[in-house]
Symmetry: C2
Subunit: 150 residues, 2 copies
């Protein structure tokens, strides 16, 4: 069976590396763009869900988000019904940078899919979605301390 994991790892590290360098311009340090983009697209999302979407440790997300708040890119708001959760919203400052983050992502996407037909782009997208769904369960399980058998 073909080893797709390494290709995925290489691509992910390369693109993440590029983004981190490019977003320094907006005073965003390593990883922060991941959270900010999602908060802009899902205003009101809570930290725990965000960590789950991004696939990063809860405590890592907590600190990244705290920093975004201190820097004024986002704000935490208490929920009326649930005293435990804190909903996350972009501030004006956050919304102002969002278009640049989006543009950069679109550019990288275009570079990544250079030479792809519409049909091929469609295909890889759907296949990747299936892969992602396939591994989500293992990730959650292993994070909780369960062991995989193999």
């Amino acid at each position: 069976m073909k080893d797709i994991l390494r290709e995925i790892g290489m691509i992910a590290r390369a693109l993440d590396s590029i983004s981190n360098i490019e977003f320094k311009e907006f005073d965003l340090t390593k990883g922060q763009y991941l959270y900010l983009v999602r908060i802009c697209e899902h205003p009101g999302i809570i930290q725990e869900k965000l960590a789950g979407i991004i696939k990063v440790d809860r405590t890592t997300a907590a600190r990244a988000i705290k920093k975004l708040e201190i820097q004024g890119f986002i704000e935490k708001r208490d929920d009326e019904d649930n005293k435990k959760i804190k909903k996350l919203y972009p501030t004006q400052k956050g919304m102002q940078v969002y278009p640049f983050l989006k543009r950069e992502g679109e550019h990288s996407n275009k570079v990544a899919l250079d030479g792809f037909s519409e049909q091929e782009a469609e295909t890889i997208f759907h296949l990747l979605q299936r892969v992602r769904k396939n591994i989500e369960g293992d990730w959650e399980s292993v994070k909780k301390g369960n062991k995989r058998d193999y």
Copy 2:
């Protein structure tokens, strides 16, 4: 155009996270498995090339490799013709863990491709290779300090 970058990022972080947890058993800390696997498969490779293959910063690779050496998983050997480079080789200890790392990778790959036909697995592999080649140039360029226009 479909956003494949996020899917790739999610998959990569999830699988890396799983691997890091599972390889603690062998006293491998975060990221180390990446280097060790490649050194086992490309004995004699030098640090600089390894960083390029993995797509990680040169100095990050340097420290990860130094630690692998201290722990006795690999060894650095001087080259006779070139006094600058140091070739990397797995030690017996390194070669002993390699099969476990390989097995884990194969398992994750299998999980990732669950429900895929042989043809589909083949397809995603080739499409991913093309993506990887597409972005390699940008990565090297941006790492060297060049700016992308978009």
